[in-house]
Subunit: 203 residues, 2 copies
């Protein structure tokens, strides 16, 4: 829209919103209008929540999670197993595992995966600090919970190589049929992996 029909404040807000993942110029305009119509219930609270998050939330210096405390709540929590580190690509994966609630060790966020196309090399990821944590001792097992994509698996192999010689056990998540999944809709690779890793029914 032209400068005449909307002031610079509005254009700037729409321009910033349009950069959010999943948003474009049209959906950003719609969202901004939605916010302007709900100034007290949505727009100002969102401005405050953003500023609040920006001022208080930082990366945990140990694991790379986002939190308001340093180290983060997961790294600080009592009753978790200090001997197991679960390596994830990014924070949403950590959140997903925490939602599941079945992992009770510590985490390490790599901040991405190796990618020749995107030009992401080992130095762009937090692999060094992971090796440092393992070498500091007290770790029995490192679980590589990376995505089952080519880049994810390349990264898993690279991290496993880096940890060789530290004496720690390096594992990865099992491949198999998703719970609730139908065989007919699975790809051949998953089916083959599930068959290879078959288990005794009674276990």
């Amino acid at each position: 829209m032209s400068q005449r029909s909307a002031g610079p404040e509005l254009l700037r807000l729409i321009e910033l919103m349009a950069r959010l993942p999943g948003f474009g110029p049209r959906s950003a305009r719609r969202a901004v209008l939605f916010l302007l119509k709900r100034k007290d219930q949505m727009l100002l609270p969102l401005a405050d929540a953003l500023r609040d998050a920006g001022e208080k939330i930082d990366r945990c210096e140990i694991c790379g999670n986002f939190d308001t405390v340093q180290p983060c709540a997961v790294c600080q929590a009592d009753g978790r197993d200090d001997g197991v580190i679960c390596v994830v690509e990014d924070v949403p994966d950590l959140w997903a595992l925490e939602r599941g609630g079945s992992f009770r060790g510590r985490y390490h966020v790599l901040g991405g995966v190796l990618s020749a196309i995107d030009g992401i090399g080992p130095d762009d990821l937090h692999i060094g600090p992971l090796v440092g944590r393992v070498e500091a001792g007290g770790i029995r097992e490192v679980i590589l919970a990376l995505n089952a994509t080519v880049d994810g698996q390349t990264t898993a192999h690279y991290v496993a190589d880096m940890l060789e010689g530290t004496g720690v056990e390096v594992t990865r998540l099992a491949h198999g049929v998703p719970v609730g999944g139908e065989l007919d809709h699975l790809d051949d690779g998953t089916l083959a992996a599930a068959l290879r890793s078959r288990r005794d029914v009674k276990r």
Copy 2:
């Protein structure tokens, strides 16, 4: 995610973002993470832009547009035709017409359309102020630029009825083939309307 893996500030931000049109919990988490990773380039500027917009932008008391000045830039602009008012459902429609740049009169934003399902009656729309503007005199024509939906056309008829007796000419946008549109992809209603409103090739 649980309270343990993310602080209340983060949960609040995700919860607010998830209420934006086009966003849900998953896309909101993705957007928040995107913002947290770009704190200085995105998160804090967005917080400032929202606060700025919230403090400075208000509805124009004449036409209902959003702007930082009162009345809005379009109502204030010189060289526009004060005798023609274009009635739109909401501000994005006004923006769309301004982007087009072919309308040089004034606007009136209804703030919605009549809808029995959503319980929106005439009193919920800015129809009274429109009649007031017309009755104040100096208006030759009111263009009803409402969506070609059932609710939009119902509203157009209602507004036209309200303006009856004021002596003003009430028009609506033409139906027809969109520029660049293919006949094969058009619905029958549009095709029939385009045929009815056919014009001499040389005009």
